[in-house]
Amino acid sequence: MFAKIFTFELRYQARQPLLWGVALLFALLTFAAVTSDAVRLGGGIGNVHRNAPLVILTLLSVMTILGMFVITAFVASAAIRDFEHDTAALFFSKPIGKFDYLAGRFAGSLVASLGVFVGAALGIVIGSWMPWLEAERLGPFAFTPYLYAFLVIIIPNVLFLGAVFFALASLSRSVLFTYLGVVFAFVVFGISGLLLRDLDNQALGSLLDPFGNASLNLVTRYWTPVEKNTILPALWNNFGLNRLIWMAVGLLVFAANLAFFNPAKSVVRRKKKKLAEPEAGVGALGAPSPAGWHAWQTLRATQDFSAAAAFRLFLRQARLETAGVLKSVLFLVLLAFGLTNFLFGAALSDDIYGTSVYPVTHNMLEGLGGSFSFLLIIIVTFYAGELYFKERAHKMHEVYDALPVPTWVPFAAKLAAIASIVLTFQAVGALAAMVFQLVKGYTRLEPLLYVKGVLVDSSFFLLIAVLAIVLQAITNSKFLGYLVMIVYMVSRTVLSILSFDHVLYRYGSTPDIPYSDMNGYGHFVPGYLWLNLYWALFAVFLFALGLLFKVRGTESRGKIRWRLATERFRGPLAATLVASLLGFLAVGVWIFYNTNVRNEYLSSDAQKDRQADYEKKYRKYKDAALPRITEVKVDVDLYPEERRMAARGHYLLKNKTDKPIDTLYMNLLPRVTVKALDFRDHERTRYDRKQGFSIYRLKQPLAPGETMPFDFSLEVKNPGFTNGDSDTSLVGNGTFFNNREYFPDFGYNEDRQLLDRNDRRKRKLPPVLRMAKVDDLFARRNTYIAKDSDWIGFEATVSTNPDQIAIAPGYLQREWSANGRRYFHYKMDAPILHFYSFLSARYQVKKDRWNDVAIEIYYHSPHAYNVDRMVASIKKSLDYYTRNFGPYQHKQVRILEFPGYQTFAQSFPNTIPYSERLGFIARLKEDPEAIDYVFYVTAHEVAHQWWAHQVIGGDVQGATMLSETLAQYSALMVMEKEYGPEKMRRFLKYELDNYLRGRGTELIEEEPLMLVENQQYIHYRKGSVVMYALKDAIGEEAVNRALASYVREVKFQEPPFTHTPDLMRHFYEVTPPDKQYILKDLFETITLFENRATAAVWHRRADGKYDVELTVEAKKVRADGKGNETPARLDDWIDIGVFGKEKKGRKEEETVLYLQKHRLSQPTTTFHLVVDKLPVEAGIDPLNKLVDRDSKDNRKKVTAAGKV
């Protein structure tokens, strides 16, 4: 009987178009992920094959999360169908057991659900055969990954989710309850995500993820491209456990379902209900009422058909329609789902090293936008169909359509209802966000900003709502209306992939309107408003078009609808159509004038073409001899409210080469208006306006050692508004730009080259350009920052609005006011790099001193939270660096806040701009576990005053190790003094984790640290780990001694500039010969360890001490750039440690009983150690100082001898 029910169910499901539709959709999704770079799912990038086993697993795993909604539909249908169609009685009156019925239905619907994933798998298989894919990005076809995916990922997921949803559906007999199950699954998923934030909770957090996605990530997170391409995850680990747990839970849920299922429940209840109801109206008299017609006459009432009445009718209808939706369970479920999504997102947001940020309002708004947007599009589309066809669904449309109600009233009312749904959703979201803020103890509520933010965010959905309902009206079919809407949404994405990104033809699009606490919505408002007006007019037109073609009555034939439309095209409707269309066109012209005439519009493809063109035309000048800028004097006038800047500058150019220079290659942003250029007699031999590239031939060449002045006067304006990429440098409050944006520079600019290999291939450019080799002496003639300059003298006068403070590097010489403006004159006393910033904002200033160095923090006044921490960090940093590396070249350190359009901190000479999103709103908890990253980032940036602004590497491999890695090390040391080694280990855990993850996402080739090619996961993350390990091996004093002598040797160096071998030489000098192997492991190669403790037991000795017998395994491997590993000879000093526990106050703390470095050369070693107190744990490299992918198995619990 089971088999019969099973096959019946399977056949039923197989006939449903939903199954085939979703299977096709899934196939398309995975196909797109495999064949294009636009859909980035699964991680098949760089050296990882597009069809690598791990990519297949990840893709299919993500598909099961998406597939949750489909599974729900299938199993709920199987569980509820009989009760909805009242066929349950037919089944249960036959001799069918509960088990046969439920299991048959359940299994049938599960197998049907699996069909969807077969579609997804086929999408990958077929996708990987597509001819346009590069052969080197594809691995051979293998069947096992698919089998593995089905057995280990898909089937357990479908089983668990299916069991839960089936139980919910068959026990509650309600589809809505079943969808609540989806919310529940997301909650579990969200909690898992919360736990995963902390590296220490990863095992637990990933077990909690019912989809197994987190576990899969956990066990494969450090996989290199080679591993991703070749192997499948083992199952004897967290991942396998996760799968077992959730499969078991699925089976348990199904068993419970069997136990509690009562087939008679719903049927019986319904019968009772019917019996309980009296047959109403039976007693009514059959005779005509004696009053006859006259009775009706008395009912005469006045009817009002005026326009005002129609409007009141509209309001009433809108209210009723809205209330109908808001009271529905479905809406509440969707709202709960959206809020869950949002709150988990908010709780997870912006977390750096375990430290979170204050839940400032604009972050909350971004979270709301992110978690609601997809949902709102679905809601708008869905309710457009539901509401439009509500009367038809209830077979009331004939009554309604014959009523004396103007056609626009119900149509507009339904639209208004959808708008209210959107706004209600957003408003509830905003309230939830405020509650979230209060719960987090953040009391600076900004309800007005919420109103603005919600409106800004909602306008798109309101416009989409018009489109959705008009599509329903025009297609006159709910299904077709949905379909066209889906096609439209897909086409939006496709268009943007194809680089059709102008707002004028993307319905509902506006230029971005980011919010910054410093600058508010700033200059983005006009463009946003104009575009909204534009689309609103179009929406009115669409709406009127909908009215024109809307079916009223039962006439749905195209020809007749067209005739009716021509009849309806008169009076106010015709006027509205014409006026809205004209208005739309007129506003469109104005927008076009702004985006394409007053400003330049380049599609993303055109932008890339331009970059390619620059490279093709001018790369030949890459090695041309250039004069060096040696002196800069500028007057910069800032007009923040106009977003305008005028600059008059003076460079002194010097020929530092040994040959005369007769040509100048000058770059200047095309947007910059040149008022005047004044230098030695010359002629312009080339002028490329589009690229902003000019070539000047000097009539009289610049002789070796000779200097010449180069004067310029220029202006930058931001008229009107742009399509995208609005200039965020010159803004109302928080201007921030550096010289490279607007000032002329010289020589072919390699920063403008395209980096993405696909972009390059499409434009027939040679493969990705790599950095020059570490010992390329010619390349070392330039610093890695610039080729037209090294050290300059600097002086600037900056003027701005009287209520703002303007800052440039240097010391304030004088401040004065003239012609209603405020002037600041800055002058530098030491040579600096040709890299300086200008800022202007309404600042609050905090001043302090460290010895003779002035400390100043310029901040946005509500962001005072961490200013004191910054000051403290600066003081401690200066103290450590001057003592250990050498003197500080300036007399001042300044930190300046800038708007969060960008998120970074950057160190300019004595000036550190710091994004408002980074650090200023960080929330430093009293939690001793959390890492104070404000302190850390500040220390890092201050360290750059040495590492970059004194010591600057040549433009070859390893250059960023000399700045970023050394700045990391410096910051680590300051932090260690402040917080102790315990916290450092926590910090380094994150660094190691990030490094190991970074390896897996390498696009080209991993390099050893000393050959790093600007790879962030290497120069920051690995840099921290490596430098700390070095310090641990040879001592802080030795490392600092080497660094100090290195600074002395190379600071303010002339070409050729230093490279990493110089620094290595100093390291070798301070490292004893028996430890020098470590320099090779850390800097010169990619070395990894696989250490673990395999056994640990203790005996109590007669003297009360403890013998510990500890067996460890040690293994060292070297990896190449792609991740291929070869064993390396082990002869290393490695920590061996034993730990106890001690009560300190309330908490138990770990105590070190034994910690010594031992020289290990065997794969397995057994130690006999004696400790004073009861040992708890013991292990090899127990503090995780080495690069080891599985650091958890380094320690083991110590057990008493004899016990197991």
């Binding site: 109801e277 047959e279 109403a280 109206g281 009514a284 008299l285 059959g286 005779a287 005509p288 009422s289 006859g292 017609w293 009775a295 009706w296 008395t298 009912l299 005469r300 009432a301 006045t302 009817q303 009002d304 058909f305 009445a309 009141r312 009718l313 009433r316 009723l320 209830h394 077979k395 009331m396 004939e398 009554v399 309604y400 359509d401 014959a402 009523l403 004396p404 109600v405 103007p406 009223r552 009555g553 039962t554 006439e555 034939r557 007749i560 005739r563 009716l564 009849e567």
Partner: protein, 301 residues
């Protein structure tokens, strides 16, 4: 007074739902009788502004002048009451709430007046006791009475009731017809039905519609008079039926005490045991349909 002239309508699938239909419908109860698929609902929906005609005109006189029903839809809607053949309700809403809602939509803006009207109609339609009940629990008859209540809101001058008695039990049907009979003579009431008694019980004027054409029109008395002295009946054996149908113009046959009782049309006495009978409306109906059928057959031949 509603005049329908030369109204024709062909659907996209080629079905000619109305063929050159012309009718003069005076005030009072007008019965539109026809079998299923005759085009009754098409005609009713066209009159109710819900459907377009391919050709022809419809005008409604009286009150404030003449209305072109096919063009001046909004004006017609203001004086129209319509109970469609198929009509649902929001199952979770009470009768009173929904009727009040319809009253608003009919332009009765004043809430006091509206309350009176709604309450009056609920009483008239005998739904007063159940006015707070959810419409989902209503029986078919209650639902139809609710339908007529909503159609009567706002004192329509033109009341269109499309097959209201289909599916009602005799008691409900009776109650419904009584209700309709009260509406009186000052309004044009068009009742479409395939049940002859509906018309014979209620209507002062009628038309018979089949295959989109008007086969007969007039008062029931006039139509009955046309058949005076031409109808005969006889009880026969079952096996004889085919033979009789061949030899006589059999317009109806029904079982009476287990034997077929046939009615035949014949201007002369047919003899052979037939007895004369007075015509009733059903005979008129079947006779008209039969004639139309043989005419169509003759045309086809």
């Amino acid at each position: 007074m509603l005049s329908i002239r030369n109204l024709s309508k062909t659907y996209a699938n080629g079905v000619e739902a109305l063929r050159d239909v012309s009718l003069e419908i005076p005030r009072g109860m007008f019965g539109l009788l026809g079998p299923n698929g005759a085009g009754k609902s098409t005609l009713m929906r066209t009159l109710a502004t819900l459907q377009e005609a391919d050709s022809g005109t419809v005008t409604l006189d009286g009150g404030a002048g003449t209305l072109d029903v096919l063009r001046q839809k909004e004006e017609v809607q203001k004086v129209l009451g319509y109970l469609p053949q198929e009509f649902g309700v929001y199952p979770r809403i009470s009768a009173e709430t929904l009727l009040d809602h319809f009253a608003v939509l009919k332009g009765i803006a004043n809430s006091r007046e509206r309350k009176e009207v709604v309450q009056g109609l609920l009483r008239q339609t005998n739904l007063w006791d159940v006015r707070r009940r959810r419409l989902g629990t209503f029986s078919g008859g209650m639902r139809q009475r609710f339908g007529i209540a909503q159609a009567l809101l706002g004192n329509p001058r033109l009341l269109i009731v499309d097959e209201p008695t289909a599916g009602l039990d005799p008691q409900e049907r009776n109650r419904f017809l009584n209700l309709l009979s009260e509406v009186g003579e000052n309004v044009v009431v068009i009742l479409s039905t395939h049940i002859v008694e509906d018309v014979s019980d209620l209507c002062t004027q009628m038309a018979i519609l089949a295959q989109g054409q008007v086969l007969a029109t007039g008062s029931p008395q006039e139509l009955l008079a046309g058949l005076d002295g031409t109808l005969w009946q006889k009880a026969i054996d079952k096996h004889e039926l085919a033979d009789y149908q061949e030899r006589y113009a059999v317009i109806s046959s029904r079982l009476f005490a287990g034997r077929p009782l046939i009615h035949v049309f014949s201007s002369e006495p047919p003899g052979n045991g037939f007895t004369p009978i007075p015509a009733d409306l059903e005979d008129v109906y079947f006779h008209t349909l039969r004639q139309a059928g043989s005419a169509a057959a003759a045309q086809a031949a």
